[in-house]
Every structure is written in structure tokens, then in C-alpha cells.
């Protein structure tokens, strides 16, 4: 079992970046690796509640993000500074996520075999 970290830095509707990162995270869980997903910068907005892309014909991928727990992805992290920058608090988020300051993010990175930025 390896440690692999997926980092997201794109805003929710910026191309398919968040969905590509979601797929990557789910697949590493499916092949029984210890996967973590870190949301940084505008990517923290991908965890914001009450968004409704289906109103404009776009797939509601927020529903899929909510299923992370079902698929045993438990290591969901958000950058504390980025939450603040976008005016979000922990209870605005779709899923339970651990808030990390920068030195905790450094420690998380240091603990990985692979880090992938999507």
C-alpha cells in the first residue's frame, strides 16, 4: 500500500480538472492504495455546498464528490488559507474535510510516495 496525494488547484468549473482529480482519487482508493486529496486555492470552491450545475445542463459532479466517503476516501484536506481567501468555513463544505495550515501541508507532501497535481 502506497501513499499517493492528489492536489487540486483549479476552480470547480475550470475545464474538467476537478472531475479528472476526482476520478484519479477514486481509482487509487479502488486499487486499495492510501490516497489523499488536497484542495488548495480556488479548488476549495469545489467543496462548496448548494451549487447546481444541472440548472445549466452541466453534470452535477458535486453529487459524486459527496460519494467519496462511500468509496472509503477519508483523507480529504483543504488549505486553511484558501478557505479564508474565498470566505468559506468548514460548515460550508459538502464533505468532512481536515483543514491544514502550510506546515501541515508540507508534512502531508513529505509523507507521500507520489504527488499528482491535476
Amino acid at each position: 500500500m502506497i501513499n499517493v496525494l492528489v492536489i487540486s488547484q483549479s476552480s470547480p468549473f475550470d475545464d474538467l480538472n476537478i472531475r479528472d482529480a476526482l476520478d484519479m482519487t477514486l481509482i487509487f482508493a479502488a486499487v486499495d492504495q492510501n490516497v489523499s486529496w488536497l484542495f488548495s486555492g480556488p479548488a476549495v470552491l469545489a467543496l462548496k455546498k448548494h451549487q447546481q450545475p444541472s440548472a445549466i445542463g452541466i453534470k452535477d459532479f458535486f453529487k459524486n464528490i459527496k460519494t467519496l466517503e462511500i468509496y472509503d476516501v477519508e483523507n480529504i484536506y483543504v488549505c486553511e488559507k484558501s478557505l479564508f481567501d474565498y470566505g468559506l468555513s468548514k460548515h460550508d463544505l459538502l464533505v468532512p474535510a481536515k483543514t491544514l495550515n502550510f506546515s501541515e501541508q508540507q508534512a502531508l507532501i513529505r509523507n507521500q510516495k507520489h504527488v499528482v497535481n491535476i
Binding site: S11, P42, L45, Q52, Y86
Partner: protein, 88 residues
């Protein structure tokens, strides 16, 4: 004479200190898509931002007093009432 400045990404995707010098007080600043998430940061370009109504609804964004939500019809009209538009 005014220019319509259109943004569709969060502010970190742009060179803010360049653009701040190219947008005049009489210009219009319109936020589309994910740019709406950065409305607080875009305020440096204009006191009264325009935001596409549909895009803020989709993103569950609430507007402040200084902001104006506009429809697609108003977006079209805005391109006609300004002299030129730039999609940054």
C-alpha cells in the same frame, strides 16, 4: 467611450497589477462563470461589478449591494452599449 472587460476565471488566472492599470473608471467589468467566485478580489477593478445572474445562481453566490446581476439579454445589450469588449 467605455470598454467592456469580461472575466470568466478566478482572479489568480490574471495579472491583476497589469489589468488594474488598463481598466478605466468609466469602463464596465463583467464577471462570468468562476470569476464570480472572486468578486471580492475583482472589486479592485471597479466599484460596481456586473455578474451574470445564471452563473451566480449555479454557484450559490450571494450578491453584495454594489453588485448587479444581469441576464443574457442584458449581457448582449452591454456589448452593444460599450465601444469594444475584451475577454481577458
Amino acid at each position: 467611450m467605455s470598454t467592456l472587460h469580461i472575466f470568466s476565471k478566478t482572479l489568480n488566472n490574471y495579472c491583476a497589477n497589469q489589468l488594474g492599470n488598463l481598466i478605466r473608471p468609466t469602463d464596465k467589468v463583467l464577471l462570468l462563470g468562476d470569476a464570480c467566485f472572486s468578486k471580492k478580489q475583482f472589486r479592485q477593478f471597479s466599484d460596481s461589478l456586473l455578474l451574470l445572474a445564471q452563473d451566480i445562481t449555479v454557484r450559490a453566490i450571494t450578491l453584495s449591494d454594489n453588485d448587479t446581476a444581469i441576464s443574457y439579454e442584458e449581457f448582449v445589450a452591454l456589448t452593444l452599449s460599450t465601444n469594444q469588449s475584451i475577454t481577458w
